[in-house]
Assembly symmetry: D2
Homo-oligomer: 476 residues x 4
């Protein structure tokens, strides 16, 4: 048996390649949409992908299952648990599709995979128990736990309500998760490897570690929410629903397309370079959205194309910004620092279903073009006068709700930066909007978005703790 974990550092997502070297067959668990990476990896290991499965209907990326479903020789295994609301619609009638119930078993070469229903994060959620039968084992070696159990954390049971807008789902989901933690893992020994679908940095859990895999025994001992679920159901439910980061709006779209279908494209789209003429032309069209992908906050703030939204490419913020501030049908223009960044940017957008890319250009080119430029209006936190600001307009705190609740500037409105687009009605027209966070970074993202759609947003930069008079310690 061959096992490889494939990490997407931007979504902090893990897929798995599990292959039987004797037969040359391989399984992919939880692929992202740009499946060429898995195909290349399989190929380099002398394997061919003959089976694809996923633990659940993902909310943070477009699953690669649909892309795989069109390839000859690939069998798909999808959950049949969770009830009619959570039935895959896109795969109906596909001849190479097998539905899995709790306890269903399939094999890939000499490897045995058994579905274990582990609801909570989502109702249809499966984990996969992997047994290396070819290697002579009679017990499973690992459990691929998806968004059920992470290294040091558990999946979020609030997303269906907070992200997909399904009412009254949070608490039942949290209880289901608690039940799954208590009941569905009980049969297995401490030595079982835990293969999670997310690592540090994902919006799918609160405190994920950077240890890529774990063991059931270690999690039983040191995974705080897991331990809580084992001992106190109510406390677990209360705790797990508290302080989760507010999901970006695109999560709702992902849920829909992963269940109901999305265009199968055969790969990351090819996107042309835009000349200065083309750029000037498209930039004026109403549906065009410009993503400035520079990594440096100060450089963006100093001077950027008018309307550009700041989306630092080499960070998890890129897809959060794209998924929070753009919509499926927006026409996107990318501004990259170097040509070699284009593939990365296109992949990240493709992974979250943003395919309408008009083209790309480079920072250097935009600066030599005859485009309108602007600098951010910026005030350092240390010289920010909040009383004055309240007179001129509105102070918006774009940190998490939980951060806001722990201490904030008087009169500041809490709108987490990922939720801005859905709450624009709360912002005053024609007045200044003073945007702050804890360090200046999320505020810079939010400011650029608000300015791109016409608000007079002011970026409060720097450390929240340096805010005079009204610092976290003396806020009301």
């Amino acid at each position: 048996m061959l096992l490889r974990q494939i990490f997407d550092p931007y979504l902090a997502q893990y897929s798995y390649l599990i292959g039987c070297q004797k037969t040359g067959e391989a399984l992919i668990i939880d692929p992202e949409r740009d499946i060429d990476r898995y195909q290349t990896l399989a190929r380099e290991n002398g394997l061919r992908i003959t089976a694809v499965t996923e633990t659940h209907i993902h909310a943070d990326f477009v699953s690669g299952a649909q892309e795989f479903s069109r390839l000859p020789g690939v069998s798909l295994y999808l959950s049949d648990e969770g009830g009619p609301e959570w039935t895959y619609a896109w795969s109906k009638g596909l001849p190479n599709m097998t539905l899995l119930k709790d306890g269903s078993v399939f094999t890939v070469g000499n490897i045995r995979i058994e579905a274990v229903h582990t609801p909570g994060h989502t109702p249809e959620h499966l984990s996969f128990l992997i047994t290396d039968s070819g290697g002579g084992a009679t017990e499973p070696i690992a459990l691929a736990t998806g968004d059920f159990l992470f290294v040091g954390d558990v999946g979020r049971p609030d997303l269906l309500e907070s992200a997909a807008g399904i009412k009254n789902m949070m608490e039942p989901s949290a209880r289901a998760l608690s039940d799954s933690l208590r009941q569905r893992l009980a049969p297995y020994g401490d030595y079982l490897q835990i293969l999670p679908a997310h690592g540090a940095g994902s919006a799918c859990g609160k405190s994920l570690g950077a240890v890529p895999i774990s063991t059931l025994g270690y999690e039983r001992r040191f995974n705080a929410p897991f331990k809580l679920a084992m001992s106190n159901d109510d406390a677990f439910v209360k705790d797990i629903l508290h302080g989760q980061p507010e999901p970006p709006p695109y999560f709702a779209t992902m849920k829909r397309v992963n269940r109901d279908g999305i265009k199968i494209t055969g790969g990351v789209p090819v996107v042309p370079h835009l000349s200065v003429e083309q750029l000037s032309h498209v930039i004026t069209e109403s549906q065009t959205k410009i993503l400035d992908t520079r990594d440096n906050k100060e450089h963006f703030g100093l001077r950027h194309t008018k309307q550009a939204i700041w989306a630092p490419l080499h960070s998890p913020f890129f897809s959060v910004v794209a998924g929070s501030y753009l919509e499926e049908n927006d026409k996107i223009v990318l501004i990259v620092e170097r040509d070699s960044d284009v593939d990365n940017a296109l992949r990240q957008l493709y992974r979250i279903g943003l395919d309408s890319i008009l083209g790309w250009t480079t920072t250097a080119e935009t600066q030599s073009a005859n485009l309108p430029f602007e600098a951010n209006e910026m005030i350092p936190f240390s010289s920010f006068n909040s009383a004055e600001a309240r007179k001129e307009g509105l102070i918006v705190d774009v940190r998490l709700k939980a951060e806001h609740d722990a201490g904030h500037i008087s009169g500041a409105l809490s709108i987490p930066y990922t939720r801005l687009k859905t709450r624009l009605a709360e912002l005053p027209q024609g007045k200044k909007v003073f945007v702050h966070c804890a360090s200046g970074k999320r505020a810079a993202l939010a400011t650029s978005f608000l300015r791109s759609i016409g608000y007079t947003a002011v970026h409060i930069d720097g450390d929240f703790a340096t805010c005079p008079a009204e610092n976290p310690k003396n806020v009301a």
Copy 2:
């Protein structure tokens, strides 16, 4: 003024980027279809392409003019000479199109371009006289001569008849070329730079050098056919029509699509990797053609996928093979040595209008797959018994007609390797076909093609001069 020559070593083709640094505008002369290369080059030099022209309706590649025609801010300049048969159909009604007559002038920034009608290679052929007005010059600096005048050679006047099948065109074309050489260059001084559209290796001329550009004075002194045209019209016509390489069939298609139109794709197509399953599947379909792109003749001969046509990628033979043995609608599978070869192969096919590529795989993968393999049946020239061969089947000489005429094996049928597909009716069914050339290379290409379509072809390898008994010295 900025001048850059862009070389395609496979088609031995030169395009030109001519830019005005003061205004940032640039012209491309004779672009190939994958125009991203020109855009990148312009960009690296701080220029934007605002004008595109071509010297004539090309026969050896798909012009990039159509791809450029869709871009905002680009003006096209096309020939209006040569009569109704040679009128561009695809550009009719395009608002950014300007037709050029002999003497027409347009400018790109401070650079002046004047069209000079130079028929012969084709009736509509223009050359472009370039004057660096911005640099203060009052006389032209260069003439972009297309396929009219090369370094050490002149364009072929036979192609319209030999490639495009237009009857009785050869001699009138040759006389037109002779007239153009005598009359259209006469006004210019020796110091004029000559910027040709082809260099060494092209099928568009007989003896091209590897000196990228020349001067009119040097060509007047040392270009043999040019000198002949100046002194003896009849001798020139006779000479120029003798010994030209037989054009591959795709030349006729190129002529058509460059005049009448081809699908504008926006770039080289993206093509998936094929798994072994997919490969096994498509390989059996009748329209699928497999190109094995290894460079090494012996390696291909030793063992290759059944039906594979040998098309060595890193040589001019690749596009000649593709253009001689494939058709527009063939579904192509590429076998490459390494992943990094794919882009090169796709570009070369795209340049000659072959866009229906099913996918690619690597030599290593095919060899681990469960595919039918075979070796070439090969006989070294030194042990070839031609008398015996004639009994068993037919000897086919795939060298140029001119080489055949200079000495050949008794009874050998001359079919230049580029013309095989059009002359299959002359080959006996059910009998062996012994294929030879001068060194074994062209014979290997031809043999693989014949075997791919079911003939029992035998590859005679090695040096023609080592052929016993019936060597060139004693053939009838």
Copy 3:
């Protein structure tokens, strides 16, 4: 805590990067000599390497510890167990060196590392117990086991005798290994992650899996030699000493340089391309060894530079060939298929201490050069007449001794291909040497080596089972 496993597919070796994200410090366990890879990985994860350790004095590669020892800000931790014979000589007096005894503890940021003496593979062998104190854990998360415990296998206790030539070490080592397995792992829970130093393909164990890490509980249940050691010491000793692959001679050198020191170079050497003139020149010098790195056995056999030793680059055979047939002071010339292969080849040689590389050239260039070429003399197994062969010379079986013992051709001399250079005295001068293995691959390697030093070696190719008359079933 951040954990990354770094895999060298050629030596099947795992190094580990273990970092504390809070302090930015990181530890490398068991680095190979080309340490730039670890530095880049640390950098990409926002960490800096401040500590380096190794489980034991390696036999299969030059440890990177010496390269790290010269860098400011890096502390080294080396074993002080095993007695005076196994004391590191190169690190004596280095201010940044700490010696570790069983139970010694050091920290890297908030991570605690405890040395556990686990002799057997070697006397000084340590394993490292890793506790994520920063993550709040009070129990270890993993044990880095070096060559003590693998996934599905245990380290080899025979190497010091079979590779380094230390007499009467095998059985005591095997007993020590057995003791370590029984006693040193006993304290730990099933859930402990096992981080081994080798995976599938290494010469350091018999049956390693391709699952990169494991758990102690899983190994207790399914690791056959481990289970045997737990139940029956004598049976374990007998079993573990049987059937191990014969180590290549360079293992002895590695042992020496990793204990006593090797030149610190600061990185993989830069090596010039050789022109044809230079190649012709160096090829005639007596100490020059030519490695032909093509992957394809048939292509090498068909035609190669005289004296070239076949060392397929993209396989574990490359370093085995280099380490079996070359010596430290040999002047090496590399023939690669493409320029892009050079870095890979240089790294692999550098990792095993071969730094005297004269230069490189490509297959294509050698073939256009005026060099002496030759083909292998090859006989397919299916038409091999062993009786005849015995008359003409000697049949040499280059498979493992264990394979030979299980069945062989009458009269065939067993010399495993990795030991040939040390047993040349057994080969007859002036007579043919017929070289075979099980599939033709190892025989091809061995044949090329013998021919490179003047023997008239004949390559028996193909499947041993197809050998007529004297197949494995009816050998004496």
Copy 4:
């Protein structure tokens, strides 16, 4: 004959590869020090470099002739003109060296090269008349003119005095150049191709074009200084010595090493990445010089490592800064934006003889390190109060002397930015130095240098024309 022009866009330098395809031999004219580029190009064209020559002792880069001189099979051809002061010292006694006098002839394959003594830029300067004898030509096809005749310009006769400090050389050199222009080109026809050693952007001439090659006839008609030399010797001398850019100090070093010798290294040095610890360590040593290679002036100005000198990598300024502000023995640390920039930076330094590179790091790393940072003190030209500045310190105009002479701020001291290091004595200690140029760019370079060595320099940024009160129109 094959001809390739190799362009170094940073030094605006042209080398030439001239090959005889029949024999496979090739000549390089005027190689730069990193000769691997020429070797690769030759190889790609099926050629091997067997001859190397140069037109003169270069001042702007280290010639590659010395690197080539150590390779077997390479013949060197060097000038024996110009008298004892200009005799190559490094090549004395080399067996593969041939000295050339005016009229000397050598061949490379079937190509004939004749030396033509063309003093003026330097006394030993040769041009090379190239005749394609193999192509049947009886007259030369091209003249490689080095720094004698450019496209649209002529070489500088002032450098030996202005750069190398040889007194009273300017006017005699200018007259020699005038003589060479009148006399040495007279024998040749208009059609001769002119292959210069520099194009647009070089410091070796005043107004070079971006047309890569020219013809003698075109230059006779449109090259202003050439025409002047033909008609009026005195006017030419006066004109040519006026307004030349002040050469950077490294020119003197280049003259020395190209005549007397420099260490032959075998290639661009390999340089390690520096960890933050190493960086902190070396940064405090007195001889360490830090080059910050970011291209964006504002980004550098905003925040950079203290002591860093700004040297924008992707521009000709990089080597000018390095050659103006660094010395041979300085220990250099490179700060690059991306790893992929390192090779470019190392090559550019290597080309001008700066080999002592301690290592490199990236902008991102320095910013996360605990290093001292600073911003430039910057005043926009539009709000610059020159009267006030004069009170506080000294205004320094770092434009060319010729620009200064055409109009300047009252009291501003003219020190061209390339000459600052040699004129530090003119700057006041302990007072502010206000540095300006025409656009802010050269001033930014100069300011960073002055600050790096302890001056309190202030960067006047923006357009000189916007300077209030004392703009160019009303200066004294």
